[in-house]
Amino acid sequence: MTQTTTELQSQADQIQSLKRRKQQRFRLGVNLSYAVLFLLLIYAFSGIKFNLFGLQFSTISLDTAFIAENWYFIFNGVWLTILLSVLSIALATVLSLLGGLGRLSKYPPAYALATFYISLIRGTPLLLQIIFFFLALPQLGIRLTGLWAGVLALGLNYGAYMTEIMRAGIQAVDIGQREAALAIGMNQGQIMRRVVLPQALRLVIPPIGNQFIAMLKDTSLISVTGFVWELLWRSQKVGRANFRSLEALLIAAVFYWIITILFSIVQANIEERLARGVRTT
């Protein structure tokens, strides 16, 4: 009897280790492919030109002296880009929560306001909205700095898109949860605050993280106001004045990419935390 158990045990071990080896091989293959792709990218910008069997191969050549001299000035825009994203996503989250509740409201004006907001904002380009807030509001006596005009435009814009995320998150909480809360005598506000929203939060965090990463790059549109020295603005200024726009934009692109990778890792960690204690299979 014990014999069979150990035999079964070792068979299970074998299957497990086979699985593990397969996984390890896969990871190794992926990492190697990353390395090859990365080297290809470096090669594409190396400026190397050579002739092979009568075929002329050329790559994009960059002014490295310009890059060495100006990368730090452009890099300093990273903090503002992150600040803009964080402020905008905070505003967007608040707006989308209000919008999501409005979308689900049984009260006609609230429902109308929410859907009108979504329709108006989703129906016009973000770039146009940023310029609008910068140019139109002074006529109302409101002089927002470029930073706040940008945050307001980005926040309102992403708030409209995220409203649908919030609505879906709230609706995804099982109806039984509301019924149970109602049965123990909670009123609608309490049900929302104590039962539905905490559960909806877990569901909406991944898509909001996704929106945040998208927004990181849309902050570059704020550079059109000319007052916000974020990554793109800085690279455009030094690029134009020195006739080296390509180099300057590539520096900014590298930093956008790095920030995005870092925030993707943060997002993955948050998701893992929130998934604890929840059965997925």
Binding site: L98, G102, Y107, G141, G226, V238, A241
Partner: protein
């Protein structure tokens, strides 16, 4: 969900509340644009101790950023000197060029020291300090391999200019909108050209450098052409300059605070800087030549 009603009402109030503190609308034409009781802009600046100057930091050697992120250049030095002689600190702001030329600055900055040509059209939105602080010739340049070598070759070609620049206005043949003195024009605009306006003059040179061929030539200030050639862009000058521009310090005509005394004061300061050789010194330092003498005189 009725508990949300107060929130939405509050929101609606906030939105409509924005309409209430609307400032008195200043007229946009005529010298008496600012209301009589308006606060004096010069007094406000002296009181504040700071003047806010817009600069378009896309142009070397007029206005650009060094790797430390400081503004340097001819325009920047002129602006700093004006602030010094006004006895106030200086703060630079960096709106886009078409925002500066459009006027209606909404009080976000006080003056523009940005190599702006005085034109009739711009005078409707802006006021200019007299006299001009320097003069630049407008110069055609073409891609070195385009085969364009004389002004006559430009007829029927596509020509790039910065958007909302005097070069765009001149190429389109609207000399009335330019309103430069007769003696400032050295040549007639080429005929049958396709105008390609890009965001800044420098984009024209960069697109040629990048190997694009939507246009064969561009028109800009001689100083920009020389900067491009110095930076190794493969372009050549075409013919001699076609017109001369008076570049002046500009102020917002629709300003809430009355700019009249500031315009006059800055004009006096510039006349002094011409007389005592300060401007010639800056010009020799940044352009390697003296561009501060009026070529029409």
């Amino acid at each position: 969900m009725k508990r949300l009603l107060p929130i939405f009402l509050l929101f609606a109030l906030l939105v409509s509340g924005c309409v209430a503190p609307a400032p008195p609308q200043a007229g946009s034409s005529g010298e008496s644009a600012a209301p009589a009781a308006a606060e004096d802009l010069l007094a406000a600046i002296v009181n504040n101790g700071t003047i806010r100057v817009s600069t378009d930091a896309n142009y070397e050697p007029q206005s650009f950023l060094n790797p430390q992120g400081e503004f340097i250049g001819f325009d920047v030095d002129v602006a700093k000197e004006i602030a010094k002689r006004l006895g106030v600190e200086i703060e630079f702001v960096t709106p886009d060029w078409d925002l500066i030329t459009a006027g209606n600055w909404g009080g976000q900055w006080d003056m523009s020291v940005g190599s702006m040509t005085v034109t009739t059209a711009r005078s409707e939105a802006l006021r200019f300090a007299e006299p001009a602080y320097y003069y630049t010739p407008a110069q055609f340049a073409a891609a070195a391999d385009s085969g364009v070598t004389s002004l006559a070759d430009l007829n029927g070609k596509s020509i790039c200019v910065g958007v909302a620049t005097t070069y765009e206005t001149w190429l389109s043949g609207d000399l009335e909108a330019l309103g430069l003195p007769e003696a400032s024009y050295y040549a007639d605009p080429p005929t049958d050209v396709t105008i390609i306006p890009l965001q800044t003059d420098n984009e024209c040179a960069q697109q040629i450098q990048a190997g694009r061929n939507e246009f064969q030539a561009f028109l800009t200030s001689n100083t920009v052409v020389e900067a491009a050639i110095r930076e190794g862009v493969a372009v050549v000058k075409v013919g001699s300059p076609v017109f001369s521009e008076n570049l002046s310090v500009a102020f917002d005509r629709a300003s809430e605070k009355d700019p009249t005394s500031l315009v006059a004061k800055v004009g006096e300061i510039i006349a002094e800087m011409h007389a005592d050789g300060t401007l010639s010194g800056f010009s020799n330092e940044w352009f390697g030549t003296d561009l501060t003498q009026d070529p029409t005189k």
